[in-house]
């Protein structure tokens, strides 16, 4: 009997111990997604997936960014039943440093940059690609880093941006001199272009990059971006050099260029800014001044068709819809030929080479059913003409506010309600301030 009880007691204790230990079979790994560990020794497919993620990620909050620039630049109104701040903060009560219109696009651009760093890291670690192929990856990643940084600088301008490095925990200084940031961007673009030359591109890009999918095409895309940055930097001569390496083509289609691809396909994204004509409640309406300031006959009025009823919110009204994206799968431009021709014109004006500038301006004018330029041959007059053409050619594509800011002419923008204001830039996000 003695033994019997001992056995039971031992068995129970052993049983309890068994419950504690036998069931614990080891670590549970991430069941849902790959982790950043893949860049330690990636395959080609891993790198390609990262590239597609970058291209896809560039679309994140791209619509919000365009709304930001277009609303403050008085190109459009964004009426929404569910979001008041498009008509309050944006136009009258003040931009906040911790609200989605700033924080979302800001963070998405830096997220894409972080992923570009992963590609740089992964390409360096990948054992199954040639050096030329490696350069294809790094050239693309560096180009995108430059472009993404530019978009954030466009928002905050003199309030500054930080320039990230390979180390995700490093928090660099806020650089408040836009020129200095632009130089960094140009450096990334130049490094990217250098890598791309002589590279071999083995990754796939969407049809948004049609014509620019290989090393030569990506180099042209890279140089086109550099031309924009050099124009913002006022390196006028460099603008022309950059354009030479780009896809600028006076006789080509204005729409030729690189786009964000959208589709309704599974797992893909639809154009976030598409709204059908004559909608109510959620509306992107063109600012009334777009039509009233327009030259007679300008065919670009087609971007702002008349609504069947005026739409109004908070004392603002418009009878025209923004209609530059006409379907859920309509692409959003990143950079296209029409802007390059206008950058050419701008550089030539600034360099005093007016005839060349006029050729470019007239290319735009005649392309839009307008007679050739007949105004004064002065820098001031030609710049007015240039800004007009940029306004109408690039409506809603994220330019007017930035153009007027770099020419110190934000005061030209119309004020609709007594207390409305034109903000010169976004504040630095709260999370960048509180560190």
């Amino acid at each position: 009997m003695k033994k019997y009880h001992q056995y039971i007691q031992l068995a129970v204790l052993a049983g309890i111990m068994l419950v504690c230990h036998a069931c614990q079979k080891g670590e549970i790994l991430n069941l849902n997604t790959p982790t950043d560990a893949i860049v330690l020794n990636p395959s080609k497919a891993d790198l390609n997936n990262l590239v597609s993620g970058v291209e896809s990620g560039m679309r994140r909050d791209a619509g919000t960014y365009l709304d930001d620039v277009s609303i403050i630049g008085r190109e459009i109104y964004r009426f929404s039943n569910s979001e008041p701040r498009w008509v309050t903060d944006m136009l009258t009560s003040g931009l906040d440093n911790n609200t989605f219109y700033l924080t979302n696009p800001w963070a998405s651009r830096y997220l894409v940059i972080r992923q570009c760093w992963l590609i740089l890291q992964g390409a360096a670690n990948c054992k199954s690609i040639t050096d030329a192929e490696r350069k294809g990856y790094t050239g693309f990643a560096k180009t995108i880093i430059g472009y993404q940084l530019l978009l954030n600088l466009n928002l905050t301008d003199v309030n500054g941006v930080r320039i990230p490095t390979a180390d995700p925990t490093y928090i660099g200084p806020v650089i408040k001199d836009p020129g200095q940031v632009q130089d960094s961007i140009l450096k990334y673009l130049a490094d990217g272009a250098a890598d791309l030359s002589g590279s071999s591109v083995i990754f796939s890009l969407s049809t948004g990059f049609t014509g620019f999918k290989d090393a030569a095409g990506l180099t042209k895309f890279n140089r086109a971006l550099a031309a924009r940055v050099d124009a913002y930097r006022k390196n006028w001569a460099n603008v022309l050099t950059d354009l030479n390496g780009s896809f600028m083509d006076f006789s080509g289609k204005f729409s030729t260029g690189v786009y964000h691809f959208f589709s309704t396909g599974g797992g893909d994204q639809v154009n976030p800014n598409f709204i059908a004509l004559n909608q109510t409640g959620e509306v992107r309406a063109v600012h009334p001044s777009f039509a009233t300031d327009m030259m007679a006959g300008d065919d670009r009025i087609s971007k702002a068709p008349l609504r069947n009823a005026t739409v109004s919110q908070s004392g603002l009204s418009s009878n025209r819809d923004l209609y530059i994206w006409t379907a859920l799968d309509a692409p959003i431009s990143i950079i296209r030929n029409e802007e390059l021709i206008l950058l050419y014109a701008e550089a030539k004006i600034q360099l005093g080479l007016f005839p060349d500038a006029q050729v470019a301006l007239n290319t735009i004018r005649t392309g839009h059913n307008l007679p050739p330029y007949g105004g004064a041959n002065t820098t001031a007059a030609l710049l007015n003409e240039l800004l007009y053409q940029r306004r109408y050619s690039l409506l809603g594509e994220g330019h007017r506010w930035i153009d007027l800011r770099r020419y110190g002419r934000l005061g030209d923008l119309p004020i609709d309600r007594p207390n409305d204001k034109v903000w010169p830039n976004f504040p630095l996000p709260q999370t960048e301030v509180n560190i």
């Binding site: 419950v19 614990q24 597609s52 569910s82 003040g94 906040d96 989605f100 972080r114 948004g208 004509l277």
Partner: protein, 997 residues
């Protein structure tokens, strides 16, 4: 092995007794006050396995081993009585006194041990079935807790059928970890997650201002049938719940369901029939021709389009007015009266060896919005069986089928939810369908809310099985020592299906994605096993030492597959009846285990000392192999039980103190830096998650010190319980923001400390106790202050929608629940979501023998909400007070454009009659098969006094425990009280009929 020999002897003795049965002792138990028989009294002989239960007439019979013995009579709600009896003394009459102060109530303190309330070191709240459902039943179990738990802040997320409640015990216990208590039903860990239905694909709610999911899912605890519950005990903090280890930081709610009693079979039928209505509607703006014209633009505008549009609106308004077609769409939408039909049948009974409880329940309730409602069918079978005097087993099983049609409410960014669409729809346009059933376009909104209501579906269906088993075996027994083995296991499985169906011809679909069919299928399996070895050493009457050694093991596996199909074929809902479909999958898995040891010492029934330690590990921790240690210690001294105590006034006085630690494991996935799917143009892509995982993540650690004094005077007629606690949380799990310029928006990090201090006071009194009238009253008062004592990271905003609309803001040295926002461009303190205090007042009056009146009043003083419902109605120019003048402007114009977030941060105090009911027991004479008939009328949440300008001060756009998936962020522990076009809260009035056979 002395003990073993003893055991053998006892065993032998028991055998002898069985074979040579002696004279039984018989008798009757009755209430000392009115002489009524008390059925169900447990009668046992101390230090033996002998025991019985009194039958329906209060009669009992028990065999004894010797001619002189002692019997102990105990019954919930009555003082335990010990009687020395002699076999030859003849039938006994045992009069039991009601235990007004509930000192003899048995409370679960350890995982396998109990203690009498008299000796308890913590303030454990106990809710009986009468308090839970006996006054004015709420729709779901979680709602039935409202106002009944001192120390808790219980907030309904919305009025949507099927529940959704946030329960916070003793302040803020976690911000990004689990903030909701652990629910344990008969030993089974009952999953209480809220699984979103992916409505975000239609609403886009989480795409702009706040990435947190805003789908308004129900909480799964709502599946539980409140009528099956016998008793609920709430361990509010680590000092009481430390033995539950790494899951107990937010408290533990221990639910015991009803069990059968041996004796006659009881059949009970209960029917509730009632009506639900919206508690409060906000009202709509009364337009004039001029204000209608203002919707087209300013009167001063010179734009010819504006001028003509103004004239058109004016004309339309006048036309509508002349035709008497000014509608109140708010009333049409939220003004329905719903029917409540709840039926419950239970059968219980059993023999000496086997007892059972079976219940079937059907709860059906319509919502206050057309096409919404809740249906819950459940069956339960609980069986207990004594294999021998030493070994007993019990099994509980519960199958639940529930379905909730929840409508489309809450925030959205596409103008598609009912409230957002209504907020901009003036009453002078007609959005009703025409004779052909075609809905006109709502020319002021992105969707026609009546069309969405009538044609869209948002349904959640749950099929759930919860089962548990336990085995109690006396493993060793002697005169002074008893050792038990307790084994417990449970399984909780549910399948949860969500359907969001938005036909292609809805106003917001037809020019966009051409219909959505969003179908989600989730399976969840939780298992838990535990084994305990409990020894009670009782060398003499003055000393009891009980030791528990235990081990626990829990696993969880969750999987969700959601397919979002768009461009769907007319009238079809299958996801393959579409042009485009996207499928997402999310899985989650954990294994936790713990080992613990507890010692409880009771001296002369007056001093209780208790100590324990628990070791826990979890696969969710960064270091999955590491055991975290959680100690506890408690002491209570019942001074009135000391021999020197002689007071006629104070008949019970106890001092108590308890200390304990517990943890909160990090959420699944917080240790990974993930790359999420992000495809483009059919190329598979992966994109970094903007939430950075942390491989070093570890559990939060909570320490809680609780002290209190309990006393009762006038023979328990007045009893007072007062507690103070200081609860600190270290290594706070934060999903804190990072400077986004490094690429990540936020990061998991143990990065701060939090402190909650609070007071809980409870007074129970019986002011009147005569045979004709008895009035019991209970007042509770509690308050909590939560402060962030340390933050190793910069202060950060954690929602709701950015500074310009008011946001929760974590900052060292400041209240955890503070709300900040921008006023005139600078960030200012605007409020605090934490109430100043809460009070509840429960009354029960029984009179004229058979009437009983019960009332529960709940007062929440202070605590701010962020009211963005008002903002949206202002923006849509439909607020009822739009035309009032503030600072020389129309209120509806002034408020949104003032650049002042303080306007939206509003006091959400309220006084509410939570429950009120009157019941009547029909006196029955000479009726054979029916033993009792009850009739009653009740009203739930019927009367509210508040200045809050929303549908209801209880609201939460972000839910309370919405699950985080790989791609969506769940709820956090702070952001309740954000009000964005919720499903309005409802009130109900019911008629009750109960028959016992």
């Amino acid at each position: 092995m002395l003990l073993s020999r003893f055991t053998f002897l006892v065993l032998l003795l028991v055998c002898c007794i069985v074979s040579y049965a002696q004279q039984p002792i018989t008798g009757k138990t009755q209430d000392a006050a009115n002489g009524r028989p008390i059925p169900g009294v447990t009668i046992r002989i101390p230090n033996s396995t002998r025991g019985t239960v009194s039958d329906a007439e209060g009669k009992f019979s028990i065999m004894t081993t010797s001619s002189n013995t002692t019997l102990v009579f105990s019954f919930t709600g009555y003082k335990t009585k010990t009687v020395a009896v002699n076999q030859s003394s003849g039938p006994l009459t045992i009069s039991m006194e009601e235990d007004f102060a509930k000192l003899d109530e048995i409370v679960v303190t350890g995982m396998a041990t109990t203690v009498k309330r008299r000796n308890l070191a913590n303030a454990v709240a106990t809710i009986s079935s009468k308090e839970l459902t006996g006054v004015a039943p709420a729709q779901t179990f979680d709602a039935a807790l409202s106002g009944k738990v001192p120390g808790a802040l219980i907030t309904a997320n919305s009025g949507a059928p099927g529940g959704g409640i946030s329960v916070k015990l003793r302040g803020i216990t976690s911000i990004f970890g689990n903030s909701q208590p652990l629910f344990i039903v008969d030993g089974v860990f009952f999953n209480n997650s809220s699984i979103p239905a992916a409505l975000n694909d239609v609403t886009g709610a989480a795409t702009a201002g706040n990435p947190q999911n805003q789908d308004n899912p129900s909480s799964r605890i709502a599946d539980l049938n409140p009528n099956d519950i016998e008793n609920v005990e709430i361990l509010k903090g680590a000092s009481a719940a430390a033995l539950y280890g790494a899951k107990a930081a937010a408290g533990v709610v221990i639910i015991t369901t009803k069990k059968g009693k041996s004796g006659r079979t009881n059949i009970s039928f209960n029917q509730e029939t009632g009506l639900v209505k919206a508690r409060h509607l906000m009202g709509v703006r009364a337009f004039t021709a001029e204000t209608a014209a203002d919707l087209a633009g300013s009167a001063s505008s010179t734009d010819p389009d504006v001028i003509s549009a103004r004239a058109w609106y004016k004309y339309k308004f006048q036309q509508a007015q002349a035709a008497g077609k000014i509608f109140d769409y708010e009333k049409e939408m939220f003004g329905e009266t719903g029917l409540v039909l709840n039926t419950n049948i239970s059968v219980s009974g059993g023999s000496d060896k086997t007892t059972f409880f079976v219940s079937g329940n059907r709860r059906k309730e319509d919502g206050i919005i057309k096409n919404t409602g809740y249906l819950n069918n459940s069956i339960r079978l609980n069986v207990d069986h004594k294999i021998s005097d030493r070994v007993s087993i019990g099994v509980t099983t519960n199958y639940i089928n529930s379905s909730a049609d929840r409508g489309l409410t809450n925030n959205d960014n596409n103008g598609v939810t009912y409230g957002v669409a209504l907020s901009s729809t003036p009453g002078w346009i007609d959005i009703h369908p025409n004779a052909q059933g075609e809905y006109p376009v709502d020319s002021f909104a992105a969707s026609n809310p009546l069309q969405t209501r009538d044609r869209a579906i948002n349904n959640e269906t749950t099929n759930r099985f919860v089962g548990g088993g336990n085995l109690d075996a006396i493993f060793q027994q002697s005169k002074t020592s008893t050792t038990k083995v307790i084994l417990r296991g449970g399984v909780d499985f549910f399948n949860f299906k969500t359907i969001g169906l938005f036909p292609r011809d809805l106003q917001f679909e037809k020019n966009s994605q051409l219909g959505h069919s969003i179908q989600g299928m989730s399976n969840n399996l939780n298992t838990n096993f535990a084994g305990f070895l409990v020894n009670t050493f009782n060398p003499n009457n003055n000393l009891t030492l009980s030791s528990t050694l235990g081990a626990t093991y829990e696993t969880g596996y969750f999987e969700n597959i959601t397919t979002v199909a768009t461009n769907i074929i007319t009238d079809q809902s299958n996801v393959d009846q579409s042009a485009n479909a996207t499928t997402r999958q999310f899985r989650m898995k954990y294994r936790d285990n713990g080992i613990f040891l507890q010692e409880d010492l009771t001296l002369i029934d007056a001093i209780t000392l208790s100590g324990g330690v628990r070791f826990d590990r979890s696969t969710n921790n960064g270091d999955y192999k590491k055991y975290y240690v959680f100690p506890k210690a408690a002491a209570s001294w019942n001074i009135s039980k000391m021999s020197f105590w002689h007071s006629d006034v104070i008949d019970n006085l106890k001092l108590r103190a308890a200390y304990g630690q517990s943890g909160n494991v990090p959420p699944y996935g917080s240790k990974f830096i993930s790359l999420l799917p992000s495809n483009i143009n059919s190329y598979p892509g992966i994109l970094l998650d903007n939430l950075r995982g942390n491989p070093d993540i570890k559990p939060e650690r909570q320490t809680e010190m609780e002290m209190g004094v309990d006393f009762s005077i006038l023979k328990g007629r007045i009893s007072v319980e007062a507690s103070y606690y200081n609860k600190k949380i270290y290594d706070l799990l934060l999903r804190h923001t990072l400077p986004a310029s490094n690429g990540y928006v936020s990061e998991w990090k143990n990065s701060g400390d939090l402190r909650n201090r609070g007071i809980e006071l409870g007074i129970t009194a019986i002011p009147v106790n005569s045979p004709k009238v008895k009035w019991t009253t209970n007042i509770n008062w509690w308050k909590n202050k939560a402060v962030v004592t340390k933050l190793t990271i910069p202060p950060f905003a954690i929602g709701s929608f950015g500074n310009s609309l008011g946001t929760f803001y974590l900052e060292e040295g400041q209240p955890a629940t503070q709300i900040k926002g921008s006023v005139g461009g600078s960030l200012k303190l605007l409020g605090n979501a934490e109430p100043d205090f809460q009070t509840s007042w429960f009354n029960e009056v029984t009179f004229l023998k058979n009437f009983s009146f019960r009332l529960l009043l709940h007062w929440k003083k202070g605590g701010d909400n962020i009211n963005l419902t008002q903002l949206l109605t202002d923006l849509g120019a439909t607020s009822a007070d739009y035309d009032d003048i503030i600072n020389g402007k129309k209120a509806g114009v002034y408020r949104p454009s003032a650049g002042d977030a303080s306007i939206w941060v509003q006091d959400a105090s309220y006084i509410r009659i939570r429950e009120i009911g009157l019941y009547y027991n029909i006196p029955l004479t000479n009726v054979k098969h029916i033993r009792g008939i009850r009739l009653g009328v009740s009203a739930n949440n019927f009367f509210t006094w508040t200045k809050y300008k929303g549908y209801d001060p209880e609201v939460s756009n972000f839910g309370s425990n919405t699950m985080s998936t790989a791609q969506s962020r769940g709820s956090n522990g702070l952001s309740t009280g954000v009000d964005v076009m919720p499903y309005p809260a409802s009130k109900r009035a019911s008629f009750h009929l109960g028959i016992d056979f």
